[in-house]
């Protein structure tokens, strides 16, 4: 096998290297900077140059080499290259070729262009290891232009009623993607410290993001009326919120597609947006790889692999420690991104 599934994670024997391992290993290839994929404790790391600043920011002083999209590297008996996954800035799928057989590890991905990350590129392969976070046909995302309109309308209405709009977003990726959709003419954009830290890292690597003001104990919130406040989901409903005064709350997440989740989170608004592929995205991405065999990792693995098997793929499930089921998947992405 080109890749094997071990206790420590996905392993390439020909290169003696792991991909996104969850136990400490000597050498790790990292698809992207979310905490369930880039973990501390490995001997050496290899990631794209676009992912590297966030990984360094989160994991501190590690041995990290970088690689560009499409650049090929020989490691042992394997040819390794990284390709855009469209998930968050710098995120990659990892292509591994051994003796002419090609496997691709998707990491997390989405097929729509978010205007921020390098868009997803299908990579032809024999075996594709795909996430299936949203691998059920109930998941379908709001088009980006509609989403931008919904967000800005909500912001404008909330500002007009003399309140701040507080949006729960994941600190890495989602927050910056939303930043790009916001219309700054509505008012100031404020950030929670966790969001600001990650945003600063991405800004420093050259991404064009609108101006934000981090909320500190000194921030004069009274003078900043009608603001959009971006905070990690866990901050909503916490004591941190109290100082903001009257607010309207919202969450931006793929789970907001479900009315039950929207209601349980008890926010005023839910915006259906995810950095993972929706049902059509997963299916079209898999079809575009031309793969005969597909392994699915996190999410609705049982249902999605059965579906793929019925579509004629050789499908299997790989137990990983990426994300988790339901809300935990995206929740876990905040933890590491919060310094």
């Amino acid at each position: 096998m080109v890749l094997e599934f071990t206790e420590a994670g996905i392993y390439c024997p020909a290169a003696d290297i792991h991909i996104d391992p969850w136990r400490p290993v000597p050498r790790a290839l990292i698809t992207h900077g979310h905490s369930d994929h880039a973990r501390p404790g490995h001997g050496a790391y290899l990631s794209t140059s676009g992912s590297a600043p966030v990984i360094r920011h989160r994991l501190g002083d590690i041995r990290l080499q970088t690689i560009e999209y499409g650049e090929e590297r020989r490691i042992g008996g394997a040819r390794i290259s990284f390709h855009p996954a469209g998930h968050v800035p710098g995120s990659a799928q990892i292509r591994v070729e051994v003796g002419g057989e090609v496997w691709v590890v998707s990491g997390d991905y989405k097929t729509v262009d978010d205007g921020l990350s390098t868009p997803f590129e299908p990579v032809r392969c024999h075996t594709f290891i795909s996430e299936s976070t949203f691998g059920l046909p109930i998941y379908s995302w709001t088009p980006q232009d509609v989403l931008a309109r919904e967000l800005n309308t909500w912001w404008a209405e909330t500002a007009a009623s003399g309140r701040h709009a507080v949006l729960g977003v994941y600190a890495l990726g989602k927050a910056q993607r939303i930043l790009r959709l916001l219309d700054p003419s509505n008012g100031p954009i404020l950030t929670h410290g966790a969001v600001e830290a990650t945003t600063a890292v991405l800004r420093a690597q050259g991404l064009d993001l609108p101006e934000t003001i981090q909320i500190t104990p000194e921030t004069d919130l009274k003078s900043l009326s009608g603001a959009m406040v971006l905070a990690p989901p866990s901050a909503l409903g916490s004591a941190w919120m109290r100082r903001l005064g009257p607010v309207s709350t919202g969450f931006a997440s793929g789970w907001m597609r479900l009315r039950g989740v929207r209601r349980r989170r008890a926010a005023d608004r839910g915006f259906v947006v995810s950095d993972h592929a929706d049902w059509d995205g997963l299916n079209s991405a898999i079809a575009a790889t031309g793969a005969e065999r597909v392994y699915v990792t996190h999410g609705y693995t049982a249902q999605f692999s059965r579906w793929l098997a019925e579509q004629g793929y050789q499908a299997g499930i790989v137990e990983t420690e990426f994300g988790g089921e339901s809300l935990d998947a995206e929740d876990s992405e905040t933890e590491g991104a919060t310094p």
Binding site: P137, I138, R259, R264, A266, W307
Partner: protein
């Protein structure tokens, strides 16, 4: 439908009662009249009959979505709601229409007699022409499972805001046997004819559970105490030589209790009483258990055998109308005295009694009387202020439930299942077991009583400690002990443990209790012997 779907979205998007009321009031002010009437009907539980089986809807939705049925079925427990699952799996609509709500309902009802092929094409066509929220609302109409997160009370308040008519008056107007076919906006809301509907009940006055020491209610002499009976709350109406019995859920249940018909011969028309329908043991002059009343609730016609096995009486405790006059504004003491006088000379074998007053000189005396409740087949005491009028709906202050403390047992959680709707992503439905030797025997389910934080915590724990799966049900490692509170216990042949509990819920997560100290099957059997 767009206007109605927008109303739905507005109600769904906010948790603020004020915002909901405003959205509804705006709808009542400007929606077409027929739509307004249907909106009131839907929000007061008057749904159109279900025309199409959910099995068919599932098949058609899967077919239109281009997915196998098993995959549709796999989506359903994730979403927790059939109407929403259908709305989510369907492809984007290809056309746009905007027909009024009433027109859609009329179209649906016209399908009642249609062939299956006609029904199918009509439904697929509708799905194809409705935007996602409209589709969801439409599916709710189809499946009859209508809940909009709006109580009838809130709807009535909005209607009062929109029309300027007094809220209590509107509550009364909206009660009774009307449907959008028999009523118009004018006849129902604006100028109702009081004689048009003799069956129309008064809104029930509902009590709160007392949340402080009863001494805080002031002098005991201000209060009238009665037993809190464990039957079905009912309002008996005698008007124009006929009679009607309404349940608290505003359901007409006259035919289920034919023995009450004879009361027409003994009480004058223009009499309305509030009370409790109880299965009654006339020899012992005590109620039979709720379990014995239960078979009579579900059926529209009652076989003879059941009539003799579980005869019912109305245990009356209030008089709302007398001599055709509305007595609700008069003080309880006066209503009660008239009720007792009216019933005083009736034959003993009539299925009607006055709920006896429970007398005591002071609060400790009442507390003593309360403690005997379970042995008398009652759930505790009701405390009612003698000077109070009969109000509409749930209002704090004049009527209090003073229930006996629930029974409790410590049990081990062994199975978990995700909730539905709002709680579809949480494990909230648990099965509990007690020890029988070194075996754990399941005896009840419970799904309420924990805080959101506790449900979140237990959900994470369930995910990590699943030992087996049976469809949506997960077997979990026996580790956690919960105190289960319940109101009663009955013998049951349907349950392996041999008992069934009434209103079981999780009173406390007993983190302090080791597994071995959970209660036993023998403990349960002892409770059954004492209270069953």
């Amino acid at each position: 439908m767009k206007r109605f779907a927008a109303l739905f979205a507005a109600l769904d998007q906010t948790t603020s009662t004020k915002a909901k009321t405003a959205a509804l009031a705006a709808y009542f002010a400007d929606a077409p009249e027929a739509d307004r009437l249907w909106c009131i009907a839907l929000l007061s539980g008057r749904r159109p009959r279900r025309m199409i089986t959910t099995t068919k809807l599932r098949e058609w939705a899967a077919e239109r979505a281009g997915i196998p049925l098993w995959l549709f079925e796999a989506c359903y427990p994730v979403v927790g709601d059939l109407s929403e699952t259908i709305a989510l799996v369907l492809p984007e609509p290809t056309r746009e229409t905007d027909l009024p709500l009433a027109t859609w309902i009329a179209r649906l009802r016209a399908l009642d007699k249609a062939e299956e092929e006609t029904r199918k094409s009509a439904i697929l066509d509708a799905w194809d022409s409705l935007a996602p929220t409209e589709r969801f609302v439409f599916n709710k109409l189809l499946t009859g499972g209508w809940r909009m997160g709006v109580s009838q009370k809130l709807m009535t308040r909005a209607l009062a805001q929109a029309t300027g008519i007094d809220e209590a008056e509107l509550t009364h107007r909206l009660m009774g046997d009307w449907t959008p076919d028999t009523a118009t906006w004018a006849s129902l809301i604006e100028v109702p004819d009081p004689t048009a509907d003799l069956s129309r009940p008064y809104p029930f006055y509902l009590a709160y559970q007392i949340d402080a020491e009863p001494e805080t209610l002031g002098p005991v002499t201000d209060w009238l105490a009665e037993r809190k009976w464990d039957g079905i709350r009912g309002q008996l109406i005698l008007r124009g030589g006929e009679h009607w019995l309404w349940s608290r859920g505003e359901e007409l249940i006259t035919d289920r209790f034919p023995e009450l018909a004879q009361l027409r011969d003994f009480l004058p028309p223009g009499t309305v009483m509030d009370g409790e329908v109880l299965a009654w043991d006339s020899a012992a002059a005590t109620p039979l258990s709720f379990a014995q009343l239960q078979p009579r609730i579900g059926r529209k016609t009652v076989p003879k055998k059941l009539l003799t096995e579980a005869p019912v009486i109305l245990m009356a405790y209030d008089l709302l109308e007398w001599g055709g006059t509305d007595w609700r504004a008069r003080p309880l003491s006066e209503r009660r005295a008239q009720l007792e006088a009216a019933l005083a000379d009736l034959p003993d074998d009539l299925p009607l009694r006055v709920s006896p007053r429970v007398a005591a000189r002071d609060w400790p005396g009442l507390a003593k009387a309360r403690a005997q409740s379970r042995d008398l087949g009652a759930e505790g005491l009701m405390l009612k202020r003698r000077a109070a009028p009969y109000l509409a709906g749930r209002k704090k202050g004049d009527w209090w439930k003073w229930k006996v403390d629930p029974l409790t047992i410590n049990a081990v959680m062994i199975y978990a299942q995700a909730g539905s709707g709002r709680r579809a992503t949480l494990y909230t439905d648990f099965t509990f077991a007690v020890w029988d030797g070194n075996q754990l025997v399941p005896f009840t389910k419970a799904y309420s009583g924990l805080t959101d934080a506790e449900f979140n915590e237990i959900t994470r724990w369930v995910r990590k400690n699943t030992t087996d799966r049976f469809g949506p049900v997960r077997a979990v490692r026996p580790e956690h002990v919960f105190e289960i509170a319940f109101e009663g216990i009955q013998k049951s042949t349907r349950h392996k443990s041999g008992v069934a509990l009434r209103f079981p819920r999780m009173a406390r997560w007993r983190r302090d209790k080791p597994l071995a100290e959970a209660n036993t099957l023998d403990d349960l059997k002892a409770m059954l012997a004492r209270y069953g």
